[in-house]
């Protein structure tokens, strides 16, 4: 019996490894091509020698009329994504806590409004939002503001706060803790795993946004890395090496961030289902 289950486990692991190779192949391919000499890109999965030329081209600032544009776009991505993630967390925390733990007039209304927005296709709002934000075109604020609050993030907090017993918060109130104290000393520490998931997910979603950034920030100095790759995609068609390297710069930071925080995910996913 024992040897049979061992054999079964071994077979399962082999299947898993084969599937993982398939699943991660595009990423390995991307990484290896980004290190390939320019005459060998796309000629083999792993080229005969590796070089940093593609990365030097992007990060060395050796461009002609738009020197440093790749470095700049990387910074733009960061400047846009970081505040978005922070604002989503703060708003999610505030709304989540108040809707579930405070008996204020209008909490039902806010909950209904959230539900309505959650399932509302945002595409309808695209054209008017663009017209409204046009005066802020090519400004970070115009890129950040319309996408900085997420109903998904708010619901993550609501669903988590619901699972926390009300007594904790009542007791804190009786002990004379103010609302701010309750939030910073009780709500924040208790929702740590949600905060990590919301922060990373919102950061990633914003980092990978294409359409809105393309519309609002067409100026090459304001383009995020995601947009810059898209706009350079066709003209750089004969230089795939740097495009692969740019894709690695776009993808790797997100993957590393999530891998570092993966221990919070197990806890987070199980209540996401509720």
């Amino acid at each position: 019996m024992k040897t049979r289950s061992k054999a079964k486990t071994a077979i399962l692991i082999v299947i898993t490894v084969i599937l993982l190779i398939f699943s991660l192949f595009p990423l390995f391919y991307m990484i290896f091509q980004s290190f390939a000499p320019w005459d060998q890109v796309d000629k083999a999965v792993v080229s005969s020698r590796l070089t940093l030329r593609s990365y030097r081209y992007l990060l060395g600032g050796s461009g002609t009329d738009n020197a440093w544009m790749w470095v700049r776009s990387l910074l733009n991505s960061l400047i846009v994504s970081l505040p978005t993630a922070v604002i989503s967390v703060l708003v999610g925390l505030g709304v989540g806590y108040s809707v579930t733990k405070l008996k204020f007039l209008g909490r039902k209304f806010i909950y209904q409004s959230l539900l309505f927005q959650m399932f509302f296709p945002v595409v309808i709002l695209l054209v008017p939002r663009y017209m409204m934000i046009k005066p802020l075109a090519n400004h970070y604020s115009g890129m950040i503001l319309p996408l900085c609050i997420s109903t998904w993030a708010i619901f993550m907090y609501i669903n988590y706060f619901v699972t926390l017993p009300n007594e904790i918060f009542e007791a804190a109130k009786i002990d004379g803790l103010g609302e701010l104290g309750i939030i910073t000393r009780i709500a924040v520490p208790m929702t740590k795993s949600v905060t990590v998931i919301v922060f990373l997910s919102m950061f990633m979603t914003r980092w990978n946004e294409l359409m809105w950034d393309m519309l609002v920030a067409p100026d090459i100095k304001m383009q995020t890395l995601n947009v810059l790759i898209s706009t350079q995609f066709r003209s750089m068609g004969n230089f795939p090496g740097p495009m692969y390297a740019a894709s690695v710069l776009l993808t790797l930071p997100i993957i590393v961030m999530f891998l570092c925080a993966s221990k919070y995910f197990k806890e987070g996913i199980s209540f996401m289902l509720k």
């Binding site: 599937l19 405070l102 409204m132 609050i149």
Partner: protein, 299 residues
């Protein structure tokens, strides 16, 4: 006592509204106003710049019936929906079942590794796919020389379409597997033990125990995948431009082009409304169907 209660509720009211101000302000500015504006816009003929706006009533909507691109986007909504929902469902479930059968120690790390494709930007994958399938890539040279297959992947409507479906399924399966895995792991040990005692194993157990137990999560996954299928934009924008022959176009792509390339804002708004209605009806239909299934087979 009464005073205490009113004091408490006053405190709750103040704090509650204060904490919700940012959300309410955002909703007013970036949700309600654009919503009314969009409906108004859909009845207008306006190029977003000139001072002339003409009220055209439902003309923007009826014009869509003669717009081959809009019709293609509508039809493609279903063409994308069906394979993406089915394949995401199958691969997500298979991955979840596989991971749940692995030894406890490596479950977590394997689940995370399968989740990685979800984190990649559609732009980065499009770069890889574009070059990987380009005429002079090692892959295509291999196909030509060894198998005598000469395929222009992005010029052929069928291959172009399936490449985009493949990218989406590749990207999402590991993410959905995470949901399903959590549901499978959440089945109580009592149920699993009872099933084992009854001799319910393998396929029988999957059909009669596991699937009914995780039906609510399956519903979530199917609804999410359906919503996702209507939100495809990046891949056709970068890889095919919606072609060849509109085979890969989507609503988002057409709305973007109509509004911001042809500057027909009214027509773009009308498209967005039709798209939203299509999504709404489909999601309602799927939810209704899954609820019926849940009543019949769920626990």
């Amino acid at each position: 006592m009464a005073e205490k209660i009113s004091q408490k509720s006053r405190r709750d009211n103040a704090a509650g509204w204060l904490l919700n101000i940012p959300y309410l302000a955002y909703t007013l500015v970036f949700f309600l106003i654009p919503l009314v504006w969009a409906i108004w816009l859909s009845t207008m003929d306006w190029n977003m710049m000139s001072p002339d706006k003409t009220f055209v009533g439902f003309k923007n909507f009826t014009d869509l019936l003669h717009n081959s691109k809009a019709i293609a986007a509508f039809v493609n909504g279903f063409r994308y929906l069906i394979p993406i929902v089915i394949l995401c469902f199958i691969f997500g479930l298979l991955l979840a079942l596989l991971i749940s059968a692995l030894p406890e120690k490596i479950k977590g790390i394997v689940a995370v590794l399968f989740f990685i494709p979800y984190l990649t930007s559609g732009v980065a994958t499009s770069v890889v796919i574009r070059f990987f399938f380009s005429y002079n890539s090692a892959f295509n040279i291999f196909l030509r020389n060894r198998l005598h297959w000469d395929i222009a992947w992005f010029q052929n409507p069928t291959t172009a379409f399936w490449i985009i479906v493949g990218i989406i399924v590749w990207k999402m399966s590991g993410y959905y597997a995470l949901f399903l895995l959590a549901a499978i792991e959440g089945i109580s040990p009592d149920v699993s033990e009872a099933a084992a005692l009854d001799g319910s194993v393998g396929f029988h157990r999957l059909i009669h125990i596991t699937l009914p137990m995780i039906l609510p999560t399956l519903t979530t996954v199917i609804v999410l995948a359906a919503g996702l299928a209507f939100g495809i934009y990046t891949e056709p924008y970068l890889l095919t431009g919606g072609g060849p022959n509109n085979a890969t176009t989507t609503w988002l792509l057409e709305i973007y082009n109509t509004s911001f390339t042809s500057f027909k804002s009214g027509s773009g708004a009308a498209m967005a409304i039709i798209n939203a209605l299509q999504i709404f009806v489909i999601i309602q239909l799927i939810t209704w169907l899954m609820n019926k299934l849940n009543k019949k087979y769920g626990v």
